[in-house]
Structures are given as C-alpha cells and as structure tokens.
C-alpha cells in the first residue's frame, strides 16, 4: 500500500534575480494513512505553498511529491487535475463550496468530474455526508448552511469516494472556537477512520489534535513535536 503523501527535498522559489523569494527550501514530509500532521508557522513561512504543492495546485522548483505513489511534480496539468479528483481533497478557510451547487452536489463534484455516473456519485456523496454527520443538509445550498456545516461538507468532499488525503488550509480560521473544534474533531475522526490529513493552522489548540506538528520558518522545517493524538514512539519517523 503506497503512502498517501511523501514529499522529498521540496523547494519553491518565486521570481528571480533581486526579487527572488524562497518559499520552501528542501522540505521532507511524509503523511501516512491514519495520520494527521499539522503544519504551523508565521505568515510567509511557506505553509500554504507546501499545501498547494502537496495537492498539485503548484509545482515545486525541485524535489518530488508522491501522492498515492505517483510523483505529481512530474505530471501535466490534466493529470494533476485527475489526482485531485481521485486522491486528494482540499479544505480551505472559507468559501469552500461552489455556491451554485447543493451540499450533496458539492461533495459529488470530484466524482462526477471523474466520469462516475450521477446516481453512483450521489450515493457516494450522501454516504460521505453521513460520515460527517450531515445527511440532512444534502439538498441545501451553501448559503443555507452555517460556517461549520460548510466546513464539514468540505471535509466530506475531500474524502469522498476513495480519496484518502485531506489537505486543510486553516479550516477553522473563519469559525468560532466551538464550531472550529467540532470541525477539527471531525477531521480527526475521519483520519482515525483511515484517511491521512495535512492541517495548516495558526492555532496550537487545533494543532494539538494532530499526530505531530511540523513548524515551518522561512521555508525550512524549524522543528517537529507531537500532539494529543501523537504516539511519542512515532516521533522517530518524523522527517525533518
């Protein structure tokens, strides 16, 4: 069974000459099934860049990114889109859902784009919504959902079908603390059920739900520590 996410020697440089900015400088990171890894760091430390490269939204300047065993850094735009349909799900801070689609349609979106028949896609999406505890909101539009519900629907979409890797970029940033915690609890539960998660956050309370936390500074891993769900023995496996 391949590792959901394996990043090795990732660098990302923006611009050139005097305007050159090194967003990431040789990052190694692996996220296994059943593992939630938090990434923390100040603004500009490279957190979002790391996440975007992990999901094939951006390409590294150098290094390899293996998602479910395939090096997405070497894939073309079309194939990277296919990886996002089948292997990786994103959750952002807010405005995660396509306003014109209902909750279940939002969740079914990657499946439909991948050619799954509408009935099957909807069934999978409803199952995913049930997994996040929101089967009743299936036919509601995003504007009819609370912020927390929207984030839960986004998590459901991130893990619909056979997707096993969630990339969450400040998923609680726009939520109050109670709702934020419920969202993180859900993410944790989905990871415990067999998924893998990479969580970018500013908030140590939420990072504490992760199995381990990677601290970034100036594009480098400044340190790694465990969280509430961390098995300390596993710290040996941290790539830094």
């Amino acid at each position: 069974m391949s590792v959901p996410l394996e990043m090795k020697g990732i660098t990302r440089t923006h611009g050139h000459g005097v305007g050159e900015v090194h967003a990431l400088r040789g990052i190694d990171l692996t996220v296994r099934e059943g593992e939630l890894v938090a990434v923390m760091g100040p603004s500009g430390s490279g957190k979002s860049s790391l996440l975007n490269i992990a999901g094939g939204l951006d390409s590294p300047t150098s290094g390899s990114v293996r998602v479910a065993g395939r090096d997405v850094a070497r894939l073309g735009a079309r194939d990277r889109a296919a990886v996002r349909r089948r292997d990786v799900g994103f959750v952002f801070q807010d405005l995660n859902l396509v306003p014109a689609l209902t909750a279940v349609e939002n969740v079914a979106l990657p499946l439909e784009l991948d050619g799954v028949r509408p009935g099957a896609a909807r069934a999978d999406a409803e199952a995913a919504l049930a997994d996040v505890g929101l089967p009743e909101v299936a036919d509601r539009f995003p504007e009819d959902l609370s912020g927390g519900q929207q984030q839960c629907v986004a998590i459901a979409r991130a893990l619909v079908g056979r997707r096993r890797l969630v990339l969450a970029d400040e998923p609680t940033g726009a939520l109050d603390s109670v709702t934020g915690e419920s969202v993180i609890r859900l993410l944790r539960a989905r990871v415990d059920a067999g998924a893998a998660g990479l969580l970018v956050t500013h908030d140590a309370r939420y990072a504490a739900w992760a199995d381990r936390t990677v601290h970034l500074r100036d594009g480098l891993v400044a340190g790694t520590d465990g969280g509430l769900g961390t098995d300390l023995d596993e710290l040996q496996g941290v790539d830094a």
């Binding site: 979002s48 975007n52 999901g55 939204l57 951006d58 479910a68 395939r70 997405v72 894939l75 073309g76 735009a77 079309r78 194939d79 889109a81 296919a82 990886v83 996002r84 349909r85 089948r86 292997d87 799900g89 994103f90 952002f92 405005l95 995660n96 859902l97 396509v98 306003p99 014109a100 689609l101 349609e105 979106l109 990657p110 499946l111 439909e112 784009l113 991948d114 050619g115 799954v116 028949r117 509408p118 099957a120 896609a121 979409r157 079908g161 056979r162």
Partner: protein, 930 residues
Amino acid sequence: MSGHAPGGDRPAAGVRYRQTLGRWRLAFRLARRDLRRHTGRAVLLALMVALPVAAGSFLVTALESNERYAPAEVEAELGPGLQAKIEGIGGPVEQFWQPEDERWFWNPVGWNTYYEDDLVTTSYEELEQNIEGLLPDGDRLVRALKDQVRLEDGDDATMSVAVQTDFTEPDVAARIPVLEGRLPRTGEIAVTEHHRDLGFDLGDTVEVMLRDGTTTTATISGIAPRYISRISPVLLPEPGPLSPPEEVTSARFDFPLWYVTGHEPVTWSDVQNLNAVGAFVTSKDVLLDPPPSAEGSGLGYISWDSVAVILALIVVGLLEAIWLIGPAFAVGARRDTRSLALLAVNGASAPTLRAVMLARGLLTGAAGSVVGLGLGIAAAAVLVQAIPDRLPALRLPGASLVIVLLVGVLVAVASAWPPARRAARADVVTVLAGRRPVVTTSRRPTIVGAAAAVGGVVLAVVAGTQNWAVGLAAGIVIADLGLILACGGIVALLGRVAHRLPWTWRFALRDAARYRARTVPAIAAVLVAMAGASAALTYLDAEEVVMELPQYEPWASTGTVALSPGYGRVFSKDESERLQEIVDGALPDAGPVLPVPMALAPADAAGDAGTGSRQGLIDLFVRPVGAADSDDPLFADLGRWPGPVVTDGSDLDLLHALGIPEDHLDQVAEALADGRLPLPPSYVDKNGNARVSVRTVFSDASPRKEVVLPAVAVGGPEERLPNLPILPEALLDEIGAESATGAYLIENPAVPADEQVTLLQARADAALVGFDAARRLTVEVESGEHADSYVSNVMGPFATPWSGGAQPVMGLAIALAAVFLALVGTWSAVALSAVDARPDLATLAAVGAGPSARRRVVAAQAATISVIGSVLGLVVGTLIGVGWTLLTSLPLAVPWQQLAALAIAVPVLATVAAWTVTSTRVTPARRRPL
C-alpha cells in the same frame, strides 16, 4: 468508481466519454443555477442576445409575410374574378419569380431567344387547344387578341397596342375598371388616360388602322386607367377587327393573350404544365401563394464579389454583437473566479472550466434567442396587423428562424469564449489566495494585431485600386480583427502612461488596463461601429460628390429635343418635312427640324433604316497630344448617336443646337468649313494635326485605323465642348465613311413639358415608324442637368427620374446607428465596471474623495472607451472607405466634417450621459475574495 489507474495513465474510452459527459452535465447545472442566482446579470445578457435575434427574426418573418403580390395588386393584375391570364410564347418556357424585380419572368426551355434560327413557332389554334386542354375542369379560355393599331383623329395620331376581347364576360369586364364612360361595344373603342393626353377623348370618333391597312371608324366609349398590366392599350370589343394570327412566334413583341375564367384555381402544377406547351401564366392562385421552388431559379449567376462583401459585412456585424455582449460575460466570469478555482481544486481540468463558461453562454444564448425570436415574431405580427395590404398574413419562415436562433446562440457562445479561455488558464493558487490573477502582458497579440490592422487596411486600399472586391472584403475583416487584437496592448500602454494624468483619468485608464476582459470588447464594439460608419460615410460622400460635380456635360443646348431611330440606326430618308408638321403641333415655340448627319461605314449607311445597321457604326476617337494611348481619348458618343456628327459648318443652327457655345460658334464653323477637326487644345499638336483612331464597330474585318487629320484648337484648356469630335464633311473620305441622317434636332427655347414630349413621340411614331413597335423613336430632351430621361418602348413612354439625393438621409441613418451602437458598447462596459469599482470608490470615499468623485471616475471611464474606440475606428474605417471608393471608381472624397462630428459626438455623448446618470452616493462595499 473510475476504472483506471490514477494519474498519467490514459483512461479507457468509456471512462473518457463518461468524464466528458460528467463535465458538461456539471457545466450545464452550474450555468442553470447561475442564471437563477444572478437573475439581473442573466437578464441583461439574455437581452443583449435577444435584441439582434429579435431584429433578425422580425426581418425574416416580415419578408416572408410580405406577399409578392398583395391581394390588391393581384386584383389590379387579374381583376376580382379572373383565375389567370396566359400569354402564348410559342415554345416551352420555365417561369420563375425574380425577387429583385418583384415580377415573374420566363426563360426558354430548349430554344434560344438570341438567334433568329432558333426561335420557335406554333400554330395559334394548336396552342389554344393545348392550353384549353390543360386548364382545370370548369375553367374557360377567353381570347384577347393583341396587335399594334394606329389611332387617328384629325390632327391627332398615335400608334398603340390594341387588346380585343369579349367584354360581355363579367370577369373580363371587371378586370378593366373604366374611369369614365363604359367598356366598348360594337362600333366603339375604349382608350386610356394616356390616349386622352394625346387628344383622344370620350365621345370622339376616331379611325383605327390595322397593320394590313384596313381602317375602321369607332367612337370612344370609355377612358380606362393609364396602365393596364403595364401597357396603355386601346380596347376593342369582340367581335372586332383583329383576327388571331396563324402562328405564334417567340420573336413577337405582342404575345397573344387569353384570360381564364371559372371557379377552379390555376395551380402551380397547372402553370408548369402550361409552361411546357409554350404558355406564360399569371395565375391568381400562384400569385397569392407562390411556390418556394419558383423563386430566383431564373438567374443562376452568383457574383462572388457580392458574396464576399456580404460575408464581410455579416462577419463584422456578428463581431459587433460579440463585442457588445462579451464584457457582460467577462464580468460574470470574474465574479465567479473563486467558484471556478474551487472546481479546479476538486479536479476540474481546463476543458471543464471552459465548459462551465461556455454552458453559461449556451444557456443564456438559447434563452435570449428564444425570447428574441418571440419578440421578433410578435413585432412582425403587429406589423401584419398594421399593414394588411402589404402583409396579408403572418408566415413563419421555419428554416430562416432556426438559423437566426442558432446564430444568436453562437454569438452568445462566442462572446463567452474569451472569458472561458481566461478562466481555464487562471492560476488557482493566486485566486484562492484572494489575489487577482496575474495578467500576462504578452506583446505578441499587440504586434500581430497591429500588423494585421495595417496589412488589412493596405489590402483594402490596394484591392480598391485593383478593383478586387474579395480583397477589399478580406481587408475589412483582417483590419477589424487586427485592431481588436491590438486593443489590449493599446489599453495596457495607456494604463502605463497614465501616471502624469489627474487621478480620475489615472483611475479610469488603469481600471481599463486591469480589467481588459471587460474593456477591450467594449472598445472593439465602439471601434467596429465607428469603422463601419466612417467607411460608409466616406463612400457615400464620394457618391454624393459625383452627383454634385458639375460633370454633367450637355449634349445640346438646353431645351433641344433629339429624335433618333434607336441605337445604331439611321433614318432611311429625309423626314424633315413630315417631322416639321408634327413639331409645329406639339412644340409650337420650337425652331426648325435640323437633320443631323452622322459618319457611318458605307456598306450600311445606304441601307434601310436600322436593318443590320450596327455593322455600320464608326467608333472614332482622338488621342491627346503626347499621352499614352489609353489616356483620356475624346470619342464620339455612340450611345446617343449612330456615329460622329458630320457637317461642313454652314449650318450654324445645327452647331448651336449641338451645344457649341456662342463664342466658339464661328471658330468651329470655320474649322469645319476648312476641313479641319475642331478639338480641345490638348488634342491638337503644334503642327495643327490630331491623331485619330477609326474602327468599324462589330466588324472583324475592319481593324482600328490610325490617321492624322488636320485640326484646330477651340476653347480653353479646361473647356469641354459637346459632341466633339465633329467631323468636317471634307474628311469623310479620309476615314472611309459616308454620311446619313442619324437624328433630328429641334431647338426649343425652354425645356418642353412632359405632355409635349409624349405628344411629339406619339405623333412621330405614328408618322415615321408605323406598326413596327421594335423601332419606336427615341426622344431625348436636353434639360441642362441630370433630369428625367425619356425612354420609349412597347409599354409606351414613361419617365425615369434621376435617383439622387438619398445620400444625406442614408448617411445620417448610418451615423445615428453607429452612435447608438457605440454608446451601447460604452455604457454597458461602464455600468459593469461600476459594479467592479464599488470597493475602490468606497475606499476613495473613506480617504476623503468628494461626492462627485464617482461621477468623475465613471465619466472618465466612458471617455476612455469611447475615445479609443472612436479614434481607431474612424481612422481604419476611413481608410477602408477609401478602398471601397476606389473599388467603385468614384472620385476620392473624405467627409471630414461628418467624421469630425462623429469623433466628437460619441465621446461627448458617452461621457456626459455617464456623468449625468451616475449617482454620487457611494455604497460601502466589502472586498470579497476573488
């Protein structure tokens, strides 16, 4: 789940199919929801599509509903009761509807109208029997015999077509409404208003002479309208003096006629059967409900030049629609950037993102087109109600309406394509971060566009000089597309140089540069409208100049009347005396009848007037001194005279009537008496000679002969004396010609009245031509300007007015249409930008910008779009107009004042209106992530 390996493996065909299906299903679902969620924007877009579709569908529906023959016209042609009228041609024909002329015509089938050997002849009786046999059961034929007759009543005499038929048949009688009196009975005739103008009035007793010389006396019992089926006939009762011909030959002018009475309609199928036996049918049933298959089949010739120009106009028109609609899609796409990025995050590939935008265009286009179609048809229905005479019933042209609908949808999709392409290429990470996607400023489109614009204009102008319409059309399209391609670069450039301007202009120019997706189509819409208007105005101005130029060269002194026997013919004997009597009666103030001798080739000059006389025409022209052979030769006008005028100069009256000015009269007469050609100075060399080229027209055996003849310079360098070259009689031998009377001139102190000319022609025809309708005299009157020209044919005299004076109205209409389109383009873009600029304006207000700031910004935006579009459009349009003008060989004339007015009016109107309607209130707006 998908049955394939993740990542780079190519999925199976079935999966690809399902992916494509899923992509479009999603695209349409999103588009549908988008239309519902953003009703205002969707309605605006749909309306923009609907308007051109409404115009198109209105046009095609109105045209379809426009009866070729409105019932009133059918009644004028056949009366209330006749089913048809039939003319016997003699050979099989195919009849067809000619839309340009709004008339039915026929073509021979299996025989030729051009060569006498190929003409066909049929027995009258046999033809009549054949026709009778093909009529629907219950219908009957009523003979109407036609021939030329001569009417005489004391001093008055005229030749006329006579129609002899049975007026006791109610349907036939009802077909000819008599204005005064009644239809003729035995011993009577009826005439038309035309005859009354010639002196034949109700109650007069007249002599009717037939072709064989038989004369009968009859009383005029009634006056019919001037024209009955385009002729002014004398009406004779049945039985009457005319007998049916033994044969019907296709060479005749007056084909035998029958009327069809009864209750059964003569259908198109009957008509085709009748055509096969040599009958041309005017059927009520077919007139009211013409078969589509009959249209235009008569002329198979297609002018590729016309097709190219029409295609160019259609392309430019569609581009205009696309540019007008485009900004609205662009703004919609930008507002949905975040949603599109989310789709990309969830695995939507670039084709999927494009599909989402295109589906939006497709749905909006379909909705707008359906609405437009409905509006167009409804408007046509209203028109049908308003003018039932012309549009008796609403008819829907199915195929044309479908095409209009599809074009509307295609225009919408094409308008959505640029934003769709941009959406598919947007950087997802940037968008998700809430930043504006980086606008790539490649110089290539600007360079390619500028090159294409210059190339297109050069092509259009060169094509104009080379008389190459396809090149002109291609040049128009290429220049148009090139400029539009370059627009983005121009806007970006202006954005960069805006830093020295006041802040409102800086804001407007940079806004235009930042949101090029919205600005460029709007500028393109203004540009295309202005280019079209300036090209049309330039061309129209050239046409108007032609009409206003003092280029009219009189061919005689004002008031002079010329009588000639038609193209290429001469009079067989001296008719001066007989004509003098007629002239004295018709033109009491006129001078003597002056025979005009013409130079003709000897073989035909002595022949009978007109018989084969085209062979006798002499084409004579004089070359200017020191110029190439093709440069401005002076030639005898064979269109008016059968040859160059020949005289010994002794008849000063003739020279005066020929329009030689008084101050040159003696000099010309002296030159002619000396055996020298009187010519303008540039045609006479220093030795007093002229290079003259002589050729017998239509004669292969007579090549062009170059001779040097003695000449005398007359008049100033810029002076054009009429009818030059006039040949001295003494030089006839030199060019191997003889003289014959080619025309008669009658000097009149003033331009004669129409009635006088009609009378003169009728009497002259009666006296000189007789029954040969093909040889009617041509009567021309020199009015000193472009005036009515009198022509004569079998239908009788009528006037064709000089069709000038429409240019100013057309020019104004074009200018107004251009201003309208330019303003719509500008304002729609400004309105859309106002939505985008709301947060910026709120920020400006927060930092202390006054209440008028919003107005100033909006006005500056309107000015930016309208000025750039107007200037570029006017420059390119004017150059294209120059090419167009050159193509049509008109003199170049640029309507600077009108173009300047447009250049000022559009930006001023756009700016002032934008300023006026803009609210000064600034609404606080949240900056939402992109």
